[in-house]
Subunit: 196 residues, 2 copies
DNA sequence: CGGTCTCTTGACGGAGTTCAAAGCTAGTGG
DNA sequence: CCACTAGCTTTGAACTCCGTCAAGAGACCG
């Protein structure tokens, strides 16, 4: 599978020699994942992180009452994995599956650490990516603590306009931390407000 | 101020030569911060990150209704900053102040980036730290979405036993995402349960 | 001591949940 | 290509967890 998309994403942050591009590509393996297929199950070990070439994946946990809580949506050009399991190589707490038919590049932790030594620029790339992830995770945390559900939904629509039409509403509800029923009511209100 | 505590913290993750230790130390400046003094105000630019040598700091945002939301407590041996502002050098959204009289080492983004080039091991140290931060931020997000306030409080007590006695309750309430009044009621219930 | 900040307690209110029922959509097999 | 089913969405009524407001009782510093 073509790794050019990932190479471009890396080059947007750190420059790469042709040699290095080849080396990086040699560490990657492509994979197709059908809608509803799993990339990772709870209690497995996340041997790889995945870079999304097409489609869309999500990571989520299941609580003791059986409810799903979406941690992340991963559209094209995003990375997804269970970071906890990936870095510690212990049993994962998250599930990862495909929301749409998707293609991904898989990158093992082992290969990642080896590559960090051979091409330090890749460690920089992931350092920067992780910093940005942390910032958005913090922002989401503060949003959940400080703004009510309706505004969180409006914000979601503003931040991820491309996802709105692709995703079932129950998964958006799960992401912003409310029940599907309540999201439906919010949407009803917003719709009525526009009419009047 | 003595930078040995930080050097030890780095050496727990990556080995360092005596030369490198000196270089790192030369980039740091010490500072005392009294209880209630600010290290960073909202809308300032976070020129530095701070490593806590003694005492305890916290970072928090203030919402449009004037309520504080604690993002992080930073006891001894932790780093604290507004990551968003620190990496982008844009205006911060967070405030950082001291909960107790404290001593910190300050490390500017400029120096950090320079050090990453001179001593790549330091970039690895921060890469690993940021990965771990991200994992705990994700876990806290999922906890807030999936478990009720009483259990979040019990979990907080289990995870940060050393902080319980140092912090005013209203700040613990803010951290776990409830009002001080409701935390007081939870504590009342837990107390009564033990008696019977 | 006096004043300010924190903690407690109680009555009330509201945002969001639960449960149930019905309509809708989309994937699947014949 | 249609029919059937399973899952998604909507709607409403009852309920609950937690927030709001208010008032009083500590606790901590100058």
């Amino acid at each position: 599978m073509n790794s050019q998309k990932l190479i471009e994403s890396i080059k947007a942050i750190v420059p790469l020699e042709a040699e290095e591009e080849k080396l990086i590509s040699s560490y990657l393996t492509g994979r197709r994942i059908r809608k509803r297929q799993f990339l990772l199950h709870e209690n497995q070990i996340a041997k790889t992180a995945a870079f999304v070439l097409s489609g869309c994946l999500r990571s989520y946990s299941i609580d003791e009452n059986g409810f799903e809580h979406v941690l992340q949506f991963a559209p094209v050009n995003w990375w997804v994995s269970d970071m906890y399991s990936f870095i510690s190589q212990k049993e994962s707490r998250l599930n990862i599956d495909a929301i749409l038919d998707s293609e991904v590049l898989l990158f093992s932790r082992e290969n990642q650490l080896e590559l960090f030594d051979k091409v330090p620029k890749t460690e920089r790339y992931f350092r920067i990516l992780t910093e940005k992830s942390l910032v958005s995770s913090h922002q989401r945390l503060l949003d959940n603590l400080s703004i009510p559900a309706r505004k969180r939904y409006e914000k979601f629509c503003a931040v991820y306009p491309s996802l709105i039409n692709k995703l079932p509403q129950k998964q958006i509800a799960s992401f912003i931390g409310i029940t599907p029923e309540f999201l439906s009511k919010i949407r009803g209100e917003l719709h009525n407000r526009k009419k009047s």
